[in-house]
Amino acid sequence: MIDMVGAKTIDGINNMGRFARFAWHTLIASLRSCARVHTYPLIWTQMNIIGVRSVPVVMITGAFVGMTLAIQAYGQLAGMGLEEYLGSLINISVVKELGPVLAAVMLAGRIGGALTAELGTMNVTEQIDAIRSMGTDPIRYLVAPRILACLLLTPILIIFADLMGIVGGYLVSVVHLNINARAYWSHSANAVELWDVSVGVVKGLFFGVAIAAISCYKGFTCKEGAQGVGQACTEAFVASFISILALDFALVVIFRSIYDTFWPLRSLV
C-alpha cells in the first residue's frame, strides 16, 4: 500500500516536472514565434480552427447560461419583491463568472480534445519524430501557434459568451417573466462595472493558455495506439477542467485584492 502511494506520488511529481519543462519550452518558442513573420500563417490557421469555428458553440453556451440563470433566480428574487434586480444578478454572474468559466469548459471539450487527438495521433504515427528528424522544433511548429491562438481568441470568445448570456437573460426575464425592461437595464447598468467585464475577459487569457498547454502536452506524451490517444483526450479534458476551476479561484482572490486596494482610488485619477 505504502509502495503504491509512494510510486504514484513520485510519478505525479515526475509528470509535473515534465509538464513544467514543456511549458517553459513552449513559452520560449511562443515568444520567438511572435517575432518571426513566417510563423504568422501557422498562427492564423489555428486562429480560424480554434476561434472562428468555436463561436457558434460558445454563443449557445452563453445563451443557455443566461436563460437558465433567469429562471432559477426569478423565484428567489420575486419572493422578496426584488424581481427588478434580476438583471443585476444575471449580468454580473454572466460577465464575471459563469460566462468565462462555462465558455472555457466548452472550449476545453471542443478544442482541447481536438488538440490532444491531433497531436496524439501525430505522436503515435511518428510525425512528431519526423518533424524533429528534419531539424525542426515540433514545439515551435505545432504547439506555439496553438497556444498563441488560444491566448488571443479565448477572451474574445468569452465576450461572445457574455453577450449571448446577457441577451438570453434579457429575453427570458423581460419577454417571458414580464420584468420591466427599463428597470431591468437600469439596475444592470448600475451594478455591472467595467471592472467586472475586464475580469471575465482577463480570465480568458489564463484559461486559454491552460487549455492549450495541457492538451498539447497530453498529445505529445500519449501512449501508443488508439487507446493511448483516447485516454490522453480524457485526461486532457479532466486536467483542463480542474485547471480552469483552480485558476478561477486563484484569480478571483487576486482580483478581489486588487479591486479592494485600487478601485476606490479611481476617482482620484
Binding site: 504515427t125 510525425q127 519524430d129 519526423a130 524533429r132 528528424s133 528534419m134 531539424g135 525542426t136 522544433d137
Partner: protein
C-alpha cells in the same frame, strides 16, 4: 538550385567513418534493448541492420540521429559527439540526415507538394516558387511519382506514401539516409521497387545509407555490409557472403526464416481447436 539550397552547416569528414557509436546502452525501464554496442558506419556505403522483431534495430537507428538518447555511451557524427547536444544544436546536425519512417509519417493535413517542401521551408528562404516546384518535380520523378503533387496522403496507397516520404527525406540532398523497415507492409513487387530506389538514391546522391529491415531479399540486394542484432548485441557483421556463411546458429535461423526447435516444441505442446471448451457449431 542545388547551390542555393545547400546546407549551411559544413563539417569535415572523420577518418573514423561518418557515424560512430561507442559503448551504447539503452534500456526502457527494466527492459535492456541495446547492450554496450560499438559500431562505425562507413561513408558512402549501404549498411543494413537485421534482426528479429523487437531486438532494437529501430532503437539503434534512432540513436544515430539522436531521436533517442542513450543511457550510456556516445554517438559521433563526423567525429563530433552529438548525443549530448541540446535540441537547437541537433536541429542543425539533422539537416545532414534524411529519415524514412516505417509508416512514412507524412503530414496528413498537407499535400504531397507541401510535405516535400516542408524541410525547405524550415531551413531555406524561398523566394522563387517556380524553382521549388521544379525541385519537387525532380524529387518525385526520382521516386516515380511525378504528377502526384496535389494529392493528399489519404489518397495514396501504402507504397506511394513510402515513396513520397522518401522524396521528402531527400529534399535537402542529405549525406545520410536512414530507412526504418522500408518494405514492411508492401507486396513483393513494391518491395523490390523500394529496394531499387534505395540503390538508385545511394548512387545518385552518394549518400551513406543505413537500412533497418527483416526482409532478407531486400537486404541481400542493397547491402554492402550487414549487421545482425540479437539480445541487444551485434552477433554478426560483414558483407552478404559473410552473413550467408556465418556459423552462428541464430544468424542462420534468421536468414533462412526457420523457427527454432525450442519454439517448435512450445507450439506443438500448446492446445488445439479440438481441445477448446466450446466449438463454433455449439452456437449455431
Amino acid at each position: 538550385m542545388k547551390k542555393k539550397y545547400e546546407k549551411k552547416f559544413d563539417l569535415k569528414t572523420s577518418p573514423n567513418g561518418i557515424l560512430e557509436i561507442r559503448n551504447l546502452t539503452k534500456n526502457f525501464g527494466t527492459n535492456l534493448v541495446l547492450d554496450n554496442i560499438s559500431l562505425k558506419i562507413e561513408e558512402g556505403k549501404t549498411t543494413v541492420v537485421i534482426g528479429p522483431s523487437g531486438c532494437g534495430k529501430t532503437v539503434l537507428v534512432k540513436h544515430l540521429i539522436v531521436l533517442l538518447r542513450p543511457n550510456s555511451g556516445e554517438v559521433f557524427f563526423k567525429n563530433r559527439r552529438i548525443d549530448n547536444l541540446n535540441e537547437n544544436e541537433l536541429n542543425k546536425i539533422r539537416t545532414h540526415y534524411g529519415f524514412l519512417f516505417q509508416g512514412g509519417a507524412l503530414f496528413d493535413s498537407l499535400s504531397v507538394l507541401e510535405n516535400i517542401i516542408f524541410p525547405l521551408r524550415q531551413h531555406c528562404k524561398i523566394t522563387n516558387w517556380r524553382e521549388v516546384e521544379e525541385l519537387v518535380k525532380a524529387k518525385l520523378s526520382m521516386v516515380g511519382l511525378d504528377g502526384f503533387q496535389n494529392y493528399y496522403p489519404s489518397n495514396l496507397s501504402g507504397g506511394q506514401r513510402k515513396r513520397v516520404a522518401l522524396a521528402r527525406a531527400i529534399a535537402l540532398n542529405p549525406e545520410i539516409i536512414l530507412y526504418d523497415e522500408p518494405t514492411t507492409g508492401l507486396d513483393p513487387i513494391r518491395s523490390d521497387i523500394i529496394s531499387e530506389l534505395i540503390l538508385k538514391l545511394q548512387r545518385e546522391l552518394d549518400a551513406t545509407t543505413i537500412v533497418v529491415t527483416h526482409d532478407m531479399a531486400s537486404a541481400y540486394k542493397i547491402a554492402d555490409r550487414i549487421i545482425m542484432l540479437h539480445n541487444g548485441k551485434i552477433v554478426a557483421d560483414g558483407d552478404t557472403d559473410h552473413i550467408r556463411k556465418h556459423p552462428h546458429p541464430v544468424v542462420q535461423q534468421f536468414i533462412q526464416g526457420q523457427v527454432s526447435e525450442d519454439d517448435l516444441a512450445v507450439l506443438r505442446m500448446s492446445g488445439t481447436i479440438s481441445t477448446a471448451q466450446f466449438l463454433p457449431r455449439d452456437f449455431e
